[in-house]
């Protein structure tokens, strides 16, 4: 069944053509690729061990040896930022991917399944949705031990209802359309109707929203870590770098700046790319191409 979804190369070629006419989208793609590159090769590129203490070298200003200087424990900030990319992208990308999969499944079931199931799921989504995000995060992180796993869990719980609702609404509007009736009249099974005919039509907007959520999730991670509720030390997450940087902002302002720059790059990259994707996936725009 998967083989019937329009082939990948065509999609990429179309995407490439589209991006050439959209410099901001292209910039987004370059930035995202840069972030992914750092996440994959960062640790091997890092000039120093991000965890190695060198108290004698503490608070050194940026230099050719230490591009972003060193922190209060003498660790190389540039190496820590590079290493943090993997955590940031892992937490951001990983949790969004999990939330996306669960949200997609629940949304399709709620939209296409029986009425009572829809009502039950809707109640569940709304209950979770009505919690203030940070409060929910803080509560869970306090109850369970702060760790990367817990953080991912929190983000999945927070993000899933939004994705489910989006998919549910789109599914509801598509399921009464003539082409779905046409497929059902052929005798197609519900999984086939859902996976082959409804999924490709609802997934576009979801990808865009999710790609734009990645930076905000990374920011949430940074925020929770800054509050001491995120990833425990000494792991070099961007949030921790920022938190420690703020403590010594008078002595070494470059730490905060160095911790903030990758966050800005990631946010801009995913946002630009997401917007370009949205434009491209809008059928009215694609129809012209």
């Amino acid at each position: 069944m998967v083989s019937e979804i329009p082939a990948g190369p065509g999609f990429l070629r179309m995407l490439g053509r589209r991006l050439r006419g959209d410099p901001l989208g292209l910039l987004g793609l370059v930035l995202v690729l840069l972030v992914i590159f750092c996440a994959v090769f960062g640790p091997s590129l890092a000039p120093f061990n991000p965890l190695k203490l060198a108290v004698l070298d503490r608070f050194q200003s940026p230099s050719w040896t230490h591009l972003f200087g060193t922190d209060n424990l003498g660790r190389d900030v540039f190496s820590r930022v590079l290493a943090g990319t993997r955590i940031a992208l892992g937490v951001g990308g990983g949790s969004i991917a999990i939330a996306l999969s669960i949200g997609l499944l629940l949304g399709l079931v709620a939209g296409y399944g029986p009425r009572w199931l829809d009502n039950a799921l809707l109640l569940l989504f709304d209950s979770v949705y009505s919690f203030p995000t940070v409060m929910l995060g803080l509560t869970v992180m306090t109850l369970l031990n702060p760790s990367i796993g817990t953080l991912v869990l929190v983000i999945v719980v927070i993000q899933t209802p939004a994705y489910s609702r989006l998919i549910r609404t789109a599914t509801l509007s598509i399921k009464t359309s003539e082409y779905i009736l046409a497929v059902r009249s052929l005798g197609a099974s519900p999984p086939r109707v859902l996976l082959v005919h409804i999924l490709p039509n609802v997934i576009g907007p979801l990808f865009i929203i999710a790609s734009m959520d990645i930076p905000s999730v990374i920011a949430l991670e940074a925020g929770l870590t800054y509050l001491g509720m995120g990833i425990p030390p000494p792991a070099p997450s961007w949030g921790r770098i920022l938190q420690e940087g703020f403590d010594s902002i008078r002595d070494a302002p470059w730490i905060v700046i160095a911790g903030g720059i990758p966050l800005i790059i990631t946010t801009l990259g995913f946002t630009f790319l997401g917007e370009a994707l949205r434009d491209w996936l809008d059928p009215r725009l694609r129809r012209i191409i």
């Binding site: 019937e4 329009p6 359309s177 003539e178 082409y179 009736l181 046409a182 497929v183 059902r184 009249s185 052929l186 005798g187 197609a188 099974s189 086939r192 082959v196 005919h197 490709p200 039509n201 059928p283 129809r287």
Partner: protein, 340 residues
């Protein structure tokens, strides 16, 4: 061709009986939930979209279901193919009742449906190839050479082979309709239910699609149930015609009889309301005043009496039974326009 041979092998054993027999069919939809109805003190929370409909369709022939919007003609088509549940009555296909065991695979294979909107009844993100070969995949026949099948089907409906890689939005209305036809005939069904097969098409393209359906009927031995409001087309393409009003067949019979000797005042009005493409002939404006009442407020007696110029006391009180003008021409009117 191997396919045609397969078709003849599947041909009905007792081919003298009707292909499709519908008896006293009723389709009802709930207007509100049981709780709300109880709270509001509503006793009747259902509305009947199809009411007491009976007809038979002989193999190789065409029956046209004619009615205004809200007449229940689409609900009837969808009930026959199992997209909406049947409340009571029977649908028998080759003497067997598919509804008893859910809609069986075999039945789905033998009965195909074409939907009203040529473009929007095709999944927007699937190629023409995948759309027209989908019936094979759904019915577990994907081991066939699907590329060859796609080519064969496109040729059958008169589209170039390179259309296989197109997407629905790249098709004109007529081309999309042809794709819909290809999809319907893919599994060589015995019956095709066509819901407004020419709606939204230009008049020149309309002729092409109807000619295609006629040709396929001849070549493949298909039967059609055509759901339409277009009487001008019905006159040329259907063997039998049934006129529906508020879920009921008010008149049914051979098409020529319906046009020449319409009995029910609603049929007479509908025929008079057809546009006359001649500046010096006017259609009959007074024939049908007002509009179809809501199904939720079904008039008593004969449903047509509020709009009927000949309504009498009995029409308001009692639902007219079926009267026979001839063995095949029937109507439900106490005061028919033609007395046989």
């Amino acid at each position: 061709m191997a396919e045609v041979a397969a078709l003849t092998r599947r041909a009905p054993a007792g081919s003298d009986g009707p292909l499709l027999a519908v008896e006293n069919l009723r389709v009802r939809y709930p207007m509100m939930g049981a709780v709300r109805a109880a709270l509001q003190g509503q006793r009747n929370r259902f509305l009947d979209a199809v009411l007491d409909v009976s007809f038979t369709l002989k193999a190789g022939t065409t029956l046209a279901l004619v009615g205004e919007s809200g007449s229940g003609k689409s609900s009837l088509g969808r009930a026959i193919i199992g997209l909406v549940p049947i409340h009571s009555g029977y649908v028998r296909f080759l003497g067997k009742e598919p509804a008893l065991h859910g809609m069986t695979r075999d039945y789905r294979r033998n009965v195909a449906m074409m939907f009203q909107d040529p473009v929007s009844s095709l999944s927007p993100r699937r190629s023409v190839r995948s759309l027209i070969t989908e019936p094979f995949i759904v019915h577990g026949l994907s081991r066939r050479d699907l590329a060859a099948e796609a080519k064969r089907l496109l040729a059958l409906v008169g589209l170039p082979a390179d259309f296989a890689s197109r997407y629905p939005h790249q098709l004109s209305g007529g081309q999309a309709r042809r794709v819909g036809v290809a999809r319907a005939v893919a599994l060589l069904p015995k019956l095709i239910i066509a819901d407004e097969p020419t709606a939204g098409l230009d008049v020149s393209v309309q002729g092409e699609i109807l000619n295609l359906l006629t040709r396929l009927q001849r070549e493949l031995g298909l039967s059609y149930l055509i759901i339409t409001h277009n009487l001008a087309v019905v006159r040329h393409v259907s063997d039998e015609t049934a006129i529906m009003y508020m879920g009921r067949f008010v008149e049914q019979g051979p098409t020529a009889d319906i046009f020449a000797r319409a009995a029910h005042p609603y049929t007479v009005g509908l025929l008079g309301a057809q546009p006359k493409p001649d500046p010096d002939r006017r259609r009959d404006y007074v024939a049908l005043m007002g509009e179809v009442p809501s199904l939720a407020r079904r008039p008593s007696g004969c449903e047509f009496h509020p709009r009927c110029p000949h309504a009498q006391e009995i029409c308001r009180r009692e639902v007219p039974p079926v009267f026979e003008l001839s063995s095949r021409h029937r109507h439900r009117c106490y005061f028919p326009a033609t007395a046989g």
